[in-house]
Amino acid sequence: MKIAVLVKEVPDAAVEKRIDPSTGRLDRAGEKNLNPYDQNAIEAAVQLKEGGAVPVEEIVAITMGPEGAERALHKAVSLGADRSVQLTDDAVAGSDVVATGYALAKLIERESPDLVLLGQQSDDGESYAIGAVVGEFLGFPALTQVSKFDVSGSTITAERQAEYGYDTVEVDLPAVISVSDAINEPRYPSLKAIMGAKKKPLEKVTIADAGIEADKVGAAGSKIECGNFTEPPKKAAGEIIEDEDTAATVEKIVAWLDERKLI
């Protein structure tokens, strides 16, 4: 089987995120990294390959993003992808969720994978939606928040937690599965894998290469405009205690509780 894993480069968790007032989009300057949730997706692919229940011939990492986003692909390859594909084209800048999902679906079509894996959310976009959008464009069944799955023949049996408890769902391949962050513990790449990552094939494609219609992507092809950013009413900042001397810390906690008649 062939697996495509969707990965995205996002601002590093340690970077203070802000909106660029001139564009109304996220300011993407500063340190960036592979979206942490995508590591769960790569790990799931690698475990499938190592597990041997089904033969996995290839794991392809796919991203849509600016030139620099190839770093996310290098990371993905160091974590176990065999090669990668990057759609980098000015025409896709400013794409909304549906436009992004459409473009990604076009990239996936070129690869004809049996399984598409992705993370539960992007750390910056947080739409939780790309998986379902991609599935819709491809005509593949899509499941999100999958915390466990098994492949048997051309069927995937997946478990996930929904509103009322755990659901078990079966889908026929090819399918799109977005994994929850509870599905596995992503490994650290070995030094050798990090060194070797840049030597693995990385294909850069334009919208023309992927047969993406220009009027369906980018800011112009998007159906949504975000703006009028306002600050929500702030909850008064809580008191903070750095625990240096635990006996003193708990004494302060007890006094705090006592003051509020909580004890």
């Binding site: 549906v98 947080e126 939606a129 929850s180 998007s222 159906k223 405009e225 205690i241 705090w256 004890i263």
Partner: protein, 324 residues
Amino acid sequence: MGGILVYALTNEGAINKNSLGAVSAAAKAAGELGTEAHAVVVGNVGDDVAGSLGSYGATKVFRAKDASEGLAAPAVDALAKLFADNDYDYAVFGGGLLGFEIGAGLAARVGAGITAEVTGLKVDGGKLVGQRPILGDSLISESNYKGKGVLIGRTNAFEATQSGSAVAVEDITVETSEQASKVRLVTRGEQRGADVNIEDANVLIAGGRGLGAAENFQLAEDLASAFGDGAAVGATRAVVDAGWFPYAGQIGQTGKTVAPKLYVAAGISGAIQHKVGMQGSENIIAINKDSNAPIFEFSDLGIVGDVQKVLPALTEAVKAKKGS
């Protein structure tokens, strides 16, 4: 002009509370837009239950009886058909996992803009605008739709309010898409682990991945015992999925909503999906070794420290105080 269609999630013949909230919010917005809010249920939902959506402001209720409840793809087929037949401008969802999946699939199929985690609906210039907190809830962003819009609510964001009376239910027949023919629900709503009660607790000690191991939940249990009657232990999805704690004790978007007098978050990062289930607590104490953890942004007392050290010491101190 096209109105608003609301998806109402049901389980075992009851409508989800967040869906009722979504119907109420959509009905109010529809009033301001000068249009109507309709609702749709999927599966074999009783006439009374489906029709009761009228009491929350839906002026029409549709039912796709033959479609499987609890799956996204058949619901996308149903909503897409209703969009095609009635030319709605907007779809509104109460949230939840299925809301996200159905909303995303629908947006792709009908070419709509989509906003997740919506906390407010606003009407501006004859159009519906979705308000959504972004960047760790530090800003509210407004989504304006160039054409159709799909708005997926955040858990507990919309309050259910009654504003009408029950309506008749109209059954619809839906053609199954290729995607929907390839997905089957094997079991739904399985409860895992013991049946713990957290909703009635005055004091909740909630444990997260920071506890490090299943057996360390004992540290939370010990602190709860020290508080005595009315104290219970809860957990995050991360540790429930890991099998450290029963699902019945999970707090958050796909778990319970709680509002105790005192909430102690031990080794919990404070993800949005957890926050929505506990932010109504009267007093929140967080213990986390990472001073940048989001939980500190909405706690009243934050302890930057190791739960392994702080919890046992706190248990002893609470016991001593109680004994004195």
